[in-house]
Structure formats: structure tokens, C-alpha cells
Symmetry: C2
DNA sequence: CAGTGGTCTAGACCACAAC
DNA sequence: TTGTGGTCTAGACCACTGG
């Protein structure tokens, strides 16, 4: 006897088995693997289930599927790095640390040229500029430097952001919008030196996020981190 | 007549409609939306189709689904940044530029302590150290600084990497493995200054990738980029 | 033109979690 | 206990694309 239990074949089990054949088994890069129908028969599941399994593996970047041509193991796996960018408060609290917020600076002014270009604003556009800190267990965790388009979001002018961060306020106000996220390295400026334990000119890992809603720029924020910060993903 | 065509309702159409209700329509953050069965009836599709649509939207981070509790619009959307990290050659050529590779340095030596710790190597482990450049249309595009575990991958010692980069060789040799990817900011070192148009100490955006296969470290690579490089994603 | 994946359907049972 | 999502099935038709 085979010893195989009579459990139902789930698409997760199929995924695991197929993935193993790709990573450790006989299906090296470039291999044309059997059709859904054949595999479904081999694994004793429906084609629907096999389709789901293969579709998900394909989504992970290991397989390349084309009608008529069949399913092929990718020559070079599509390495993808995926990062979740939760609300700072949640990130801190998820790490079991105590969250604290502190406003550093709040000002209303005319948008400087570089910002007008970046956010596509008209001349003399009023913007709200906010700089603040997010702490984890008393240590500076993230420095936030944010610009808010005051024409698109006049309600922001009524907020003082003394006790709740602009990020949380914005999420509650403009929940779902177009977003552009960038990761980059910049040199530490005054603010980073003063609050993030950097020396002037130090390399700082920085996340920049621009947000639009119905084609109007809402906010541009730069999030900086302490020395040695890295964003890591594993798979 | 309604003017509506009699086309089948596809899960993509359903996705678009539901997504719109979330982003622009009546379903603000926290809303408990109708059940799959109800929605399927409203949209005139099967529950299977509605399930697929909702599952995919949920995968995008807009919905939170729990058995019995139902499907809820997330209070804070899970912002996720997803980056594809293709083979440099493909990345360059996909941009319509001409790719060129150049070896800078190749050496076999005993792993330094920091590397032994990082790759979990034994004392006196031999490693292959390779430094090389990837050009796009004649301009330095990426600086690669790689360490290869010579015990785990002795074939690497027979390669001179004069004409093809270690990345491509590795992909053909150890195709699918465990990977850890980090993004970080570092200060420009000699090599970056010499080849990437940096000044000493400049902030450099850097991708670090560690690769394991069957619990043995295979390679650790650091990829640096020219001034002002940023990784961007939009959605 | 024909093979392969893409998707829809109707029905069923199950697992989890709120009540 | 019971409602809701999670998943499997068998069958069907379609759409793309390689030959």
C-alpha cells in the first residue's frame, strides 16, 4: 500500500508539492511542465484546484504561463521584494513597544518651487508643513517631514496636530488614494542630526510617499529612520 | 432597454466595481459590506466569482475578511510597496539601453569575521570575493560586491567571471533558493567613489541580498547605485 | 486550427468565530 | 449554535497563440 491518507487534496498541498519539484526536484529552469489536466489527474484533484495552485505559484514569480504554449519554469525567478508599510503607530505597537508622538514644527506657507513642481501646484499655493517624531519605547523611531496641499485639503488648517500625527488624521480623512512610494538614501540634514542620532551628512534611509486623490496632490511625506535602519524581506 | 450588453460578468469587472465603491463610493473605512451571496446576487454572478473578486481585493490590502464576521473595509489600507528585482541585464535591456559587464576584482580568501557571522560560515572558510560593474549605455548603472561560499559552491572557483557576471552564473547554477533582501543606505566607500561618481561618504542606496540553499549560505551580494537612485512603485 | 490556460457556474461541505 | 468565508468538484465555454 502507498500509505497515503485519503484526505482531500487542497490547493496548498499541491502548491507545496509543485514548488518543491521546482526548487529541489526535477523541474529546473526552463522546464515545460505538464498541463493542468495531466497534473490534476496525477494529484487526484480537479483542474480548478490545480489551476489555482499553478496560478498562485505563477504569482510568486516561479512559473510563466501562456495559453497554448503551456506552463514553464522561469529561467530567472522574478525576485520581488514586498514591503508592508503600516501606520507607524501600528508598526511600533506590533513590535511590542510603547508608541509616542511629538510635534516638532507646524507652519503654513507658500509652497517652495521644488515642492510646486513635485506636487504639481499652482503659484503661491498655500501648504501646511509639518515635522514630527514617532517614538518607540522612548527612542526616536521615525522622523516625519510632511507637506499638505492646503487648497485640496483646507480642513487640515484647522488641525494643530499636537497630539495625533498627520498620518493618522489623513488616513481618517482621505482614506484611499493614488500613491507613489520611493525608497532612497539621503544625507542627514539638521533635523535628522538633532532627532535621529545622526552626524551631519550621514546616509539616511528614507521612504517618500506622494499621495493623490482625483488627480490632485494631497500630501508629500518623507520618513527618515535612525542609523543602520534597513527594510528587510525574506522568502 | 437598459443598453447594457449581455456579456458575462467577470471577476475583473466585479473587482473594479467593488473597488470603486470603496475608494469613491459609499463604503468608507470600517464598513461591513454585504455577504458574498448577497453581492453575487446583486451582480448577477456566481458566489465563486464574487469570492475570487473579493479575495483579490483583499490581497491588495483594501478588505479584511473573516469567517462569520464578514468582510470589512480596512480602517487603514495596508500600504504595500512591491519591487521586482530582475537580473541587471534584463533591467538594463528592458529600459532600451545597451548592457555591458566589467569585472573589477576577483579573489579567493578566508572569510573575514563579519562575513562568517553574516553567512554562518566556519573558521577559515574559503570564499570567493567578486567586485564588478554593470553598465547601461556606457554609464555605470550598478556596482556589485559579492561573496560566494566556496565550500558550498566549489564550481565557482573554476569560473573567472571575466565575461559573464556572477549573478547570471549563479542563476543558472543555483536557481531557486531562500532569499533575504534588504534595502539600506550606506556611506560611499572607495569603490563607489571610483566607479559610481560619488564623493566619499555620500549616501548610497544599496540592495543587499543573502541567498541560502538547504540551510547553507551560498552568496551575499551588495548592489549599489549611482547618486540619486531611488526605487519607486505606484498604485 | 487546435491545444492550453482563463474563467464562469451551480452545488456542496467544511472551518472558523461570533453569539 | 449558526452565519460567513474558504475551498473542492465536475463540467462548460472562451481566448489566446503556436504551429
Amino acid at each position: 500500500m502507498t500509505g497515503a491518507a485519503l484526505e482531500k487534496t487542497t490547493f496548498r498541498e499541491v502548491m507545496a508539492a509543485i514548488t518543491q519539484r521546482i526548487t529541489e526536484g526535477p523541474w529546473g529552469p526552463g522546464t515545460l511542465i505538464p498541463t493542468e489536466t495531466e497534473l490534476a489527474e496525477e494529484f487526484g484533484c480537479s483542474r480548478t484546484t490545480m489551476n489555482r495552485a499553478l496560478r498562485e505559484i505563477s504569482g510568486l514569480g516561479l512559473l510563466d504561463r501562456k495559453r497554448k504554449a503551456g506552463t514553464r519554469v522561469r529561467m530567472a525567478p522574478i525576485r520581488q521584494a514586498r514591503f508592508e508599510l503600516p501606520l507607524v503607530r501600528n508598526e511600533v505597537e506590533a513590535a511590542g513597544a510603547e508608541y509616542r508622538y511629538q510635534l516638532i514644527n507646524r507652519a503654513v506657507l507658500a509652497a517652495p518651487d521644488w515642492l510646486r513642481a513635485r506636487m504639481d501646484l499652482g503659484p503661491d499655493s498655500p501648504v501646511l508643513h509639518i515635522q514630527c517624531l514617532h517614538f518607540a519605547d522612548g527612542k526616536a523611531f521615525q522622523l516625519e517631514d510632511r507637506w499638505i496641499n492646503a487648497l485640496a485639503l483646507p480642513q487640515a488648517l484647522a488641525e494643530d496636530f499636537a497630539t495625533i500625527g498627520p498620518n493618522e488624521w489623513l488616513i481618517a480623512t482621505v482614506p484611499y488614494s493614488e500613491v507613489e512610494i520611493s525608497f532612497l538614501a539621503v544625507a542627514a540634514d539638521d533635523l535628522a542630526v538633532r532627532h535621529l542620532d545622526h552626524a551631519i551628512g550621514d546616509p539616511v534611509f528614507c521612504v517618500e510617499r506622494a499621495t493623490w486623490w482625483k488627480n490632485a496632490a494631497i500630501t508629500l511625506v518623507s520618513l527618515s529612520h535612525p542609523r543602520g535602519h534597513r527594510m528587510t524581506t525574506r522568502y
